[in-house]
Symmetry: C2
Subunit: 261 residues, 2 copies
């Protein structure tokens, strides 16, 4: 690694969201910072990539604490931003990708829906150390405190490096910095959304549906992301993109699948 690591900052809330301004500011001084983020909000896009349409990238005026930060707004998903930045927008492969700071938690089952996490996952797939950062508050909040946490974690990652393919999913409690108790390394909690769609009628009396839901934690474990946040700690969960349920491979080999097996 050159003396100054190259750090790519991205998000899913869009390039003009307060969270990415705080995250880029927090990375300032840790390395050479670049930004590539969606033009528009891309929440809950999961690990989408754009394959049927072209994407565009526009230079974007982005200010950090010590001046202008080279930035591009991209007409795509968070994963597109990371792919395009690495292939076309950055001077070299970055040493670290940080994504966020997301407005709202990305804990438990929500990890799979998260655009913030998908940007970091894409980096990990490409062999680059990556951290996704979310603030556990749906509106507003202390992004400066969250930025301080993100900076500490990014520093640790730049120093120690992550195992190949592993990224960190960081959730920060909605507390002033001096009331955050520390960091816990956690697993995703088992949880679910109890959802329903509101049925409404448009002016032509045709039905349409809005997704609504209530989040239910099914997991009392203290070692979970939700447990850490509730106790006032930063949650750091190592995640990967291999979805194989390895422990179920051998039992399934006993099944009779077809007349051919």
């Amino acid at each position: 690694m050159p003396d100054k690591p190259l750090i790519l900052v991205c998000n899913d809330d869009g390039i003009d969201a307060p969270g990415i301004a705080a995250l880029a500011a927090a990375m300032d001084g840790l390395g050479e910072v670049r930004v590539a983020a969606p033009v528009h909000e891309q929440s809950a896009v999961g690990h989408a990539i754009t394959v049927r349409d072209p994407v565009r990238a526009f230079p974007w005026p982005f200010r950090g604490p010590s001046g202008s930060i080279p930035a591009h707004a991209v007409t795509g998903t968070p994963a597109d931003c990371v792919k395009l930045a690495i292939d076309k927008l950055l001077p070299r492969v970055p040493d670290l990708v940080v994504s966020g700071i997301n407005q709202g938690p990305n804990t438990a089952v929500n990890v799979i829906y998260s655009g913030t996490v998908s940007a970091a996952t894409e980096a990990a797939i490409l062999g680059i150390d990556a951290v996704a950062v979310s603030l556990c508050r749906w509106r507003g909040g202390d992004f400066e405190a969250a930025g301080l946490v993100a900076r500490s974690i990014a520093e640790s990652v730049l120093k120690k490096r992550l195992p190949p393919g592993i990224l960190l999913n960081v959730n920060i409690p909605d507390l002033p910095y001096d009331r955050i108790l520390g960091v816990r390394v956690t697993r995703q909690a088992k949880a679910r959304w109890e959802e329903s769609f509101h049925e409404r009628r448009d002016p032509l009396d045709r039905p349409y549906y809005w997704l609504t839901g209530e989040f239910v934690n099914l997991d009392e474990g203290e070692d979970t992301d939700l447990g850490a946040i509730d106790a006032g700690y930063v949650s750091v969960t190592p995640i990967h993109h291999d979805m194989t349920a390895h422990e179920h491979i051998v039992p399934l080999r006993d099944w009779t699948w077809t007349e051919k097996h």
Copy 2:
């Protein structure tokens, strides 16, 4: 379960794709079949859900081998289709969700980008047995043979039931039915896309980018999805939505994260 299981069929290629017609036909007779699928193609949408816009559902004329199948076209992602069907479109919670038959493989790292898999994953999150089915050919192919395979696997699942939270990701080789050698239970292969964006110029001389890439298998294991397909077998991979890299939790607890830890 009532005598006749309720089977929801969905996909990501769109309700008028040949693969979903073959899949619905293959399920005919195994249970009461319903269809809910996107109006338009939704490939590579990952586990996206629609949270900022309403979704709509339109009754759709869908023909199966023994007559009309109740069907809805949904203006959303594959995961939206499953959520909306379960909450609003179906008479009761289905016993099985089958997604596909996708035009093209969903193996290795591609699982995370797949809309076909995400529909089945959403069902598993909601506690419903689910199977994603893909035909390993990018255009055309023998969907009838793939349908026979899908039917055998769906029958096995209806008889044995899957462990909670586990779904099956099924990839079918592009072979005539009588040349498919059988079923192998596999893990996702380690692989990556070597990607680059083609830079082009629009008529106003502004740049735009198309994603292109070459898929590279990094994994010689015979127990992988890619290995099974190459050898002429159907690949059945048990997957789940927990992305936690459990084996990395304890080592990461030794890290110094902040001055507070």
